[in-house]
Symmetry: C2
Subunit: 149 residues, 2 copies
DNA sequence: ACGCTGTACTTGAACTTTCAACCTCACTCG
DNA sequence: CGAGTGAGGTTGAAAGTTCAAGTACAGCGT
């Protein structure tokens, strides 16, 4: 079963990465960042929050945003209320790319997963993934030290 | 559901990557290569075959083996029957690393997945992954051109 | 024997990710 | 206030991955 899991997940990831690189000119993770931004109020988000939502490190996000900025899809903006802060803002161009490539991507995902699974299986998989994620929640650093709370 | 899937799989991958980097000094993919080699007859395998089994490109494998060679865990060997060919050979040292780190890794996997899922869920997940993998099989390049067969 | 096509693998450059160090600003507390 | 602690974010270098091109041998047809 573990083998099957590894096999399937790597295949799917490679597949989607190629699809997006081809159709949208960016890897899957970067695409995910644009999606997150597009769904945020005013299409902008604080760096740390975006990193958390996308489950990547702040460092990785810094580099990623630098690249997306170079491509013109994201812009940085100083945060008015906290002088340390930065907002990542989805540009019009970035939004356009997203709109252009979203249908193809959604389609790729559907073809790869949903079309092949029965509705019950989709339900099962959802539940399983929720359980797994719960167990892997990057533990609150203080979780090990409850006496400090 | 798709969100849950992305969330859980990336969390798990990060988790295992860190675990192995810490305990075995290499990323998950490289560990997988050693495992494959360890299970092959005479602990050696042709490069292309290894790449296929591990689901990575030949290029990636070349670089990976170069690194593993530098670490002393794998050795290259000319293939006697085909002068173009190379065999990747697991060294004693490589085997030792594997033996040392396997229990911890197996344990990490168990804790992350199997301990949290019911036996039925494990069965369901296995079936689901098999279905997905089947649909993603890197298609035979000629698959699109059946008239050429 | 000759050239053609394809297989096996490597290489280098461009790109992405990680890791550890770093800077700046916010907050707390004596 | 002023020092200490820590949060927000960036940076540069090292490690890993991808992509396109390249070398060398195998195998086939003529």
């Amino acid at each position: 079963m573990w083998r099957a899991y590894l096999h399937a997940t790597t295949l799917l990831e490679d597949h989607l990465d190629r699809q997006l690189q081809r159709d949208a000119g960016m890897p899957h993770v970067y695409y995910g960042l644009l999606v997150h931004l597009s769904q945020a109020p005013r299409r902008r988000m604080r760096m740390t929050q975006l990193a958390k939502d996308a489950k990547i490190t702040r460092s990785r996000l810094s580099h990623a945003v630098a690249r997306l900025e170079k491509s013109g899809w994201v812009r940085r903006e100083d945060c008015p209320s906290d002088k340390r802060g930065q907002n990542a803002v989805l540009t019009e161009e970035g939004y356009a790319v997203l709109r252009r490539s979203a249908p193809g991507h959604v389609n790729a995902v559907r073809q790869a997963m949903f079309d092949r699974l029965t509705p019950e299986q989709v339900g099962q998989l959802g539940e399983i993934m929720r359980v797994m994620a719960e167990g892997l929640q990057p533990a609150d650093p203080k979780a090990d030290l409850p006496w400090l709370r």
